[in-house]
Symmetry: C2
Subunit: 219 residues, 2 copies
DNA sequence: AAATAAATTTAGGGTAGTCTAAAAACTATT
DNA sequence: AATAGTTTTTAGACTACCCTAAATTTATTT
């Protein structure tokens, strides 16, 4: 089995590769995990010995298929637990992440399959991120940040880029939630801020900074 | 906060004190935790520094009220998680313990209070053990092993002494479960084995060894 | 092609927790 | 009271993970 720490490294590497589309650097991992480069190098050697990553000194890191499997399993557990907390225990979407960071390391196949069943096999987590299935398969969604849409587009909110409680609470206050219909009423030219209509009811203004962190698809 | 390991030591000490009614020895802890006496001594020093136990070299150990609070919180979490697994995720009573050993260390007040609420504030776990409330209060049950009852007593099964999957599965096979009514039909003189009637239906024989591990109260 | 800057690794060390073997302290027996 | 046996503690070492500081390698400028 892999330790807690090893799982966190693999998950971090997976997410960095996912975002950048290429191999990841020691420093990038250090920053993501909030640790020092020297510690990362130590761990990379260990993960490489265990054949979980492809690593050659100074050359950056990718996951082996074995390592990717572990990473996807941790991500699956994280997102299923987030969903469980939200749906069954009345957590808010800004409260689920920290607890899921702990729960994702619980090791029991039966447990996670039963949670999945209990939730009726959800495909997406409370933040709109896809939940890998038991085989690690992910259902991709071709959503874009709403900063990329144009006037009069009618779209559906499908996710967030920034997962911080502060941002999620801000969205709560504006009344924006996953699944909402958004109509782009106006794009302000000089700062790209938006005037949007939520669910054909309330009209609000959001900055381009906020818009970039909201994901949606054409309706 | 306390580490996993510290929590496990405190829980072990609590249970040993509960069973023996007195202070516990280094060796007893080592056996309970499946570790060596030298390791226990190290940890006792640390727990003593943190004012979680009362410890003087060679004199045995008791819990401070601070240490007892931690132990009871871990036990509360363990038993609530066992109940959750049984009630909501279709685990059997012989499957819940190992997973609860991991889940008991998850640190989130909101999580455990919501689990408690979700289960409708159960007072006992799947093995009949009492679940401490949020303040550490335990509801005591004055049950005795059924080896202590006599011919024609009508009793209700309330718990088990042996928690091993092997014993629990044996009980499943005999058809015995918590809450069952048991009538002592016969006590065999030479080996103290019992003939009992379960729920006024099936009659079975159990050895004294088994009887000693089943707890019940007079109906 | 050097020289400089940035990224990465190595060296050496720290804490938490574990172990074995040996010393010290209690306990029981004569 | 001395001896033998048991329990507990100490000494010293190991693994996992982390750190700082120094050395090394790679990347960028000149
Ligand atoms: Mn999360
Ligand atoms: Mn999420
Ligand atoms: Mn248990
Ligand atoms: Mn139990």
């Amino acid at each position: 089995m892999n330790s807690f720490t090893e799982e966190n490294y693999l998950k971090a590497i997976y997410k960095l590769i996912e975002k950048s589309g290429s191999s990841v650097s020691t420093n990038a991992i250090a920053e993501k995990i909030c640790t020092k480069a020297a510690s990362v190098t130590d761990m990379l050697k260990k993960l490489s010995d265990k054949k979980l990553i492809n690593y050659q000194k100074y050359q950056g890191v990718t996951l082996t298929s074995k390592g990717e499997k572990v990473a996807l399993s941790v991500i699956r557990k994280h997102r299923l637990w987030e969903m469980f907390l939200l749906e069954k225990l009345d957590f808010k979407w800004d409260e689920v992440h920290d607890v899921a960071e702990q729960l994702e390391h619980i090791n029991s196949d039966k447990l996670i399959e039963q949670i999945d069943k209990f939730l009726n096999y959800p495909k997406f987590d409370p933040h709109g991120d896809p939940i890998p299935d038991a085989n690690g398969k992910i259902q991709v969604q071709k959503s874009k940040s709403i900063a990329h849409f144009i006037k009069n587009d009618v779209i559906v909110m499908t996710g967030v880029v920034d997962h911080s409680p502060a941002f999620l609470q801000y969205l709560d206050n504006t009344g924006l939630a996953l699944g909402d219909e958004i109509k782009i009423k106006e794009v302000v030219f000089f700062d790209r801020s938006l005037q949007i209509i939520i669910n054909k009811k309330s009209t609000i203004f959001i900055s381009n900074d906020v818009a970039k962190n909201i994901l949606a698809i054409k309706k």
